[in-house]
Symmetry: D2
């Protein structure tokens, strides 16, 4: 579906400690995390001495040519992929951020969003600090440089204690890799290992936002970085400390609903399992009389299979997605109705004609895309269209690293379900309940979830909509 009508994850990170081709592993890790951010990417490597940086706009495979990678050759690396906000400073705000300071040269990549960044920044600027970007991440490096602690590790812990919000981050110095997660554990960050990869005790240590990155580079998942934990991989192995006391966990449930890849383990749980269960739960909560279950591909497929399995209604690929869409520029063709959606999706008339269809999607953001899809499915001959959404209505923006539209644009923040049904033109419409959502994702088992976007209840202070809203420098 058109990009503008989906929530967008903001960023993935990866880090490699001690591998003769660390730059390639970082590249491949970003490749596997590409779904977490497709507008810019960067890698910083170390050969034990200098930190080399390359970042650019576009997809990972476009930014890193063979030649570029060969110039980045090193045995430590961190990488970052993200959505950038529009404007000419886009590349400037791309990560990792590399700086030179009294703690040496360091580079940092961050997934999440700080909610007290602007206050800290004002304070630092008043003391003579210079900022080069609009990114809240830069606040962290300044806090490290300003810290009275002499050792880099202590200074980092000192800095992380001062920031509030969501952060899973990796940092590189010429000879070490650091990884940390905020005390509430909003965003994922996993630790893995490549046996015999070349590290201190023979192994390569890796960190990544999702475990699918481990699979591609031949690493095995060990455990998540814990909320409040700060890990260091260095010449003498891995060490761990807690920079802050534990807080109630607030893992982002949207990782399971939509962002993460189904083949990843996230917050200790297989995403595919959650997705199928979301569909089964939805079938139990909101059954429908129909001839077939049809997903809106690709994101609705897992839930649709769960729905079909639970309901006994046959699953059909009644909508075909064109994977070549890429960056076609084509402006709306007036003569073709719902043209934008048709570029990506095409209904299979031979399947849909005369049928009652349960259409499964994972969200309705503004409603305009859903409306076009429903119309298109009807146009291909469907007799009835029953829309089922595998999560609750989204009513509040996220301040922890997800790019949500403003409340004005969120259809569920402004209309009743019946009004939405009418707007999208479905015969019936149902969302999954918040309880069903949590149950499907195993809330309370390995973690507890933040579901603020569905409930409006935010787990941190500082979430002042008035103040934070305009600051869109997420990552």
């Amino acid at each position: 579906m058109p990009k503008a009508d989906k929530f967008r994850e903001a960023c993935g990170v990866v880090a490699i400690y001690a591998h003769p081709e660390a730059e390639k592993l970082a590249y491949l890790g970003l490749h596997a995390l590409q779904h977490r951010g497709q507008e810019s990417a960067g890698i910083v490597t170390s050969d034990g001495d200098a930190l080399r940086l390359h970042k650019g706009m576009g997809l990972v495979a476009e930014i890193f040519s063979e030649e570029v990678l060969s110039k980045l050759h090193g045995n430590l690396a961190i990488g970052h992929t993200r959505y950038s906000t529009a404007g000419d400073s886009a590349l400037l705000n791309a990560q990792p951020i590399r700086v030179q300071s009294n703690k040496g040269t360091i580079a940092l990549a961050h997934n999440g969003n700080l909610v007290n960044a602007s206050v800290i920044r004002s304070h630092l600027e008043s003391q003579g600090s210079i900022f080069q970007t609009n990114s809240d991440t830069e606040v962290i490096v300044h806090l490290i440089a300003r810290s009275k602690e002499q050792a880099l590790l202590d200074a980092m812990a000192d800095a992380l204690r001062q920031v509030e919000g969501a952060f899973s981050l990796v940092m590189i110095s010429p000879d070490r890799i650091y990884a940390a997660r905020d005390p509430r554990g909003f965003r994922p960050l996993a630790l893995g290992r490549i046996p015999g990869g070349g590290g201190p005790n023979g192994d390569t240590i890796v960190f990544a936002s999702e475990t699918c990155a481990f699979d591609l580079i031949g690493a095995t998942f060990e455990r998540d970085v814990k909320p409040g934990e700060l890990m260091v991989a260095g010449p003498s192995g891995i060490t761990s400390r807690f920079f802050a006391p534990p807080q109630p966990q607030s893992s982002c449930i949207f990782e399971h609903v939509y962002f993460s890849r189904p083949d990843s383990l996230v917050f200790g749980r297989a995403v595919e399992e959650s997705r199928a269960e979301l569909g089964r739960e939805l079938a139990r909560e909101a059954p429908a009389e129909a001839d077939m279950v049809v997903p809106v591909p690709d994101s609705g497929v897992s839930a649709a299979m769960g729905y079909a399995a639970e309901s006994g209604i046959p699953f059909r690929f009644g909508l075909i997605r064109n994977h070549y869409v890429g960056r076609t520029f084509i402006e709306p063709l007036q003569s073709v109705r719902d043209f934008g959606v048709k570029l990506k999706l095409n209904p299979v008339r031979s399947l849909l004609e005369g049928k009652r269809v349960v259409l499964i999607d994972d969200s309705i953001v503004r409603g305009t895309t859903s409306r076009k899809i429903v119309r298109m499915v009807r146009g291909a001959g469907a007799r009835e269209v029953h829309m089922r959404i595998s999560c609750p209505p989204t009513i509040s923006p996220c301040f922890y690293g997800v790019d949500t539209p403003s409340m004005r644009e969120l259809i569920a923040a402004n209309k009743s379900i019946e009004e939405i049904r009418e707007f999208i033109g479905a015969d019936s419409l149902a969302y999954l309940s918040v309880e069903g959502l949590k149950k499907a994702c195993g809330d309370g088992q390995k973690t507890t979830y933040c579901s603020a976007c569905y409930t409006g209840c935010y787990p941190t202070d500082w979430v002042d909509v008035e103040e934070i809203q305009p600051a869109r420098g997420r990552r």
Copy 2:
């Protein structure tokens, strides 16, 4: 899977008669046909006077920028997308071919392969004709120019009578669009219509290799161009004639097995229907004791769903495909086994662990990719892997427009099924029978099929393997 281990369709064509934005419709048509050829594309348009051409290497969306399209503005258009053979002459051989002759300026786009091109070419050259490309398509334009017939339409019929083999082609002159199919109907070509689009009686006439192109541009499917038929869309409407007497039909069955998009009607039959039926037939012919049916995505999905439905074994997305792969250059990473396949596919351990898996794919070409996939599925914990292929073993090359490896490379031309099973490391292996294949695709209903690649029985003369093999200028 790696490109090199799939058969490759050779080309899609589209043509538009009379629309104020014909160049855009042609662009979109090619966009919808992108799966039929991803290495070069071209469009020729007419504003009633001159023929404007643009072609390039790469994906349709890369070749045609907004600026390029605006320079092609016209109300008649033809387009072509194809695989090119390697070498510096790749762009030269891209289509459409535009020439100036005594019949005026014309341009032609061709899907298929002529089997008597080299003989005709030698003859033409001996009479002083000059060739600019290695493409057999150029033979057709020379035959048109050399024809004693004065009228372009007569000259075209004259030319088409002299060539033998597979051709679905569209041609443009400043004020007309021509479309023709060879007498055996090897490759598809459909006729559609956009009501009120702007043509002579108010409608726009369109031709395309597959009907999915019609869906995107808002055209309705009317009928196939018939084998041996030559159609003209011009100021006085559409006319039809038969340039050659009917022959037994030899529609390419691989269009239903693999090439065409599932949302297309091809040879009058819904492709999705054939695909699901291939899986059901396969389940009947080659059942397996297993816990789940897993497709090799994307091409094995439909057959896997059919297999699951027929067998009652649950369908699972146990392999996740990374759609961002694009043109990553990355060379094999020595430290990661089966790296090339992992870039595109990742197994879902949480699903596969401890399970008996039926793995469904649509073909085994060289066997190397299948071997890696089986190994990867086992590596993710599967207890048994039963490979099922939704078509018969491929034992002979195609001479009608499909890019098949040489016989030396085709594993099924050189090994028994048991040897292949052993090579790929599956617990069991079965292919669909030729009878099952034909039954699943509705042989004898709307058409009869060419299945030479599975049987070695070629429907035309001139198929001299010795002579034709080196001529790889397919399209």
Copy 3:
């Protein structure tokens, strides 16, 4: 000065027979001939078997990267650089033209213009020949292919006898290089030799439009290809024949006035010698009372030095040329007068202030640029500006390979010298006489000249302004 206000040479050619790096020598030859055409270039090489072609739009150094050249590796090569006419077919019309015919694969590069091309083309098309370009050069290859002569050399002679006009051309077959000049010898073509370069008797044979190409690649000038001569360099050395009887020579005098590089020998005479003599002759014919002689750089420098030497008035670089201008896009800045000229030229106020200046240029085409320069020189403080032009007024278009404006645009075809003086705002204006021009260029010594652009007397038939004017496919 702005490109539009200069005559433009149409093309340079180079050919290399037998050198282990023939593609590099061809590249360098084109590099040295870059001033003869800056909008497209191409090279065809042979390794004794196939002909490899690369051509593109732009400067030679942009078109041929190291990678491109390495793919062209061969020991025979021809090259072409040219101005292209506007429009989307520009690359199509770029040369060399490579074709496959009954005489084998050949490629041809042409400097000049045929005056009977359209008549021959119509005739060939009526017999079934197909043309791919608008270029008159393509006529020659068709005549070769159609020729009843079996041997390529005989067919080429046969073809060249049928065309009329200006042509200096080089041709390559897999194992030979051909070079020919029209019987009137309009355009230059020189033969050179690299001792021990690797050819049949140890030497490499080279042909080029100007000898400056020889200097760069270490070749020594041997002699010009003679008017009406057809040379072949092949395994058994060089052979020569005359395809047509001698005609009165009509060497293009503008080669000496403007086109050729001053370090070249052209038509057997040093260009630098002619240029300085043009200035001296001008000083004798049109003296001026002044304080300094200032050239319009770069083209007026040699003549200005001659004028200064003859007159005794000091030479000064009162106008500085900015060589970085390149392809700046910048549109006219309203607030800066004569902005376009200022981008390229800047007056040196400290030299010009209060002085009487003789300004020397080599031509006035439309007059608009000269007007701006005169105004700019006055603006920098010059008290008097005496314009002197080192050739006669241009009153007629060229049909032999020079891109001249239409007569409507040529200021000298429409205004008297006094009117021109008034238009450009000079205190006095004088042109060199036709007699002075011929004398300065040594007319009657090594060659006789065509000066049709100054006299309107054309040396060939077929120069029908009405008919030929619109055909702008020059090279």
Copy 4:
């Protein structure tokens, strides 16, 4: 000549206050200053609110497309063009540098080199400052941010008092333009005005490294920014103050010898006048018996004309420069001697043959290029070659903004003049004396000069060769 064998100016700056198309004027100013740095360029503009930045690698005309400029639209602008040092951080070090600080958002462009940058930087880092580049310019912005002065202007003066060395710099804040020169006035910086351009009292204020930039944008030269002066152009007009007491002036004499364009006024003196006088002085100091004076173009032309005028020996363009050389990649062709030089220069045999030649150049750096030129001139038939250099031998590196080779590479630092003569193969060799040089450039009239590169006497402390040598971050 090959780039590596010339001294390279390090940077040009331009600034525009109050013009409706300030971005275009800045672009054109950089265009005129292109000779001062051709490897990167940048522009920062303000529309009174935000500062917009664009910088890139390459020539000005390549970096700033029409589209880029339109995004930079503003009425204040500064620009910078420079040589970058090699390596991946090249773009990072490009200028202007834009930062956000407690004094607001500012951007700064710097021509010159600080000699105490590393000491200050260490001190700043120890206090928690973070550096993003290797450039000494970044030190200045940190000093501004750290300054206890509240007002930006006071903070700037405070910062400039702390740095030592050469700096001509321009700075932009959202509503003001600042310009300053170091107290010794090493590098030039001129103030100009466009009457009625749109500023506070109707005029546009401009600053530029050389006055040739003024000519192009229609500005008139007013005066130089004085050594130690800090100017501000803002809503209430121009104000001036001196941030430091006056020092003996040390204007870089190499600006007159080589760097500046001949049409510029630099340090209040016409460069063309100095250059011609250098030649005349050289003729008086080091006469030669010869038939012609030949410059090594383009840089030796003015001095050669002076030499010819003074000596009475005729001036001849015996070497032709190919201005298309651009960025040809071509590696040395083994078979052609002195190939690299031949790509750029070609001797005119018809002029040189049998003659005694005085060859004039403006410097000998390593000597290798001069040797090739002498050999080439002899190869074209010259009987004698007398080399004359229009400045003294270069024996010491520059620390004030010129990129000189190390002393090991400077031929004159290691060999006697006779040894150099022998190395380059000339019949005689002479350099201009230091006294002659100063006299020719008017030393003591409008300024006094730094000639440390010829004498080894440096005008500042801190010039510790050991320490500063490796720091090559000049600009």
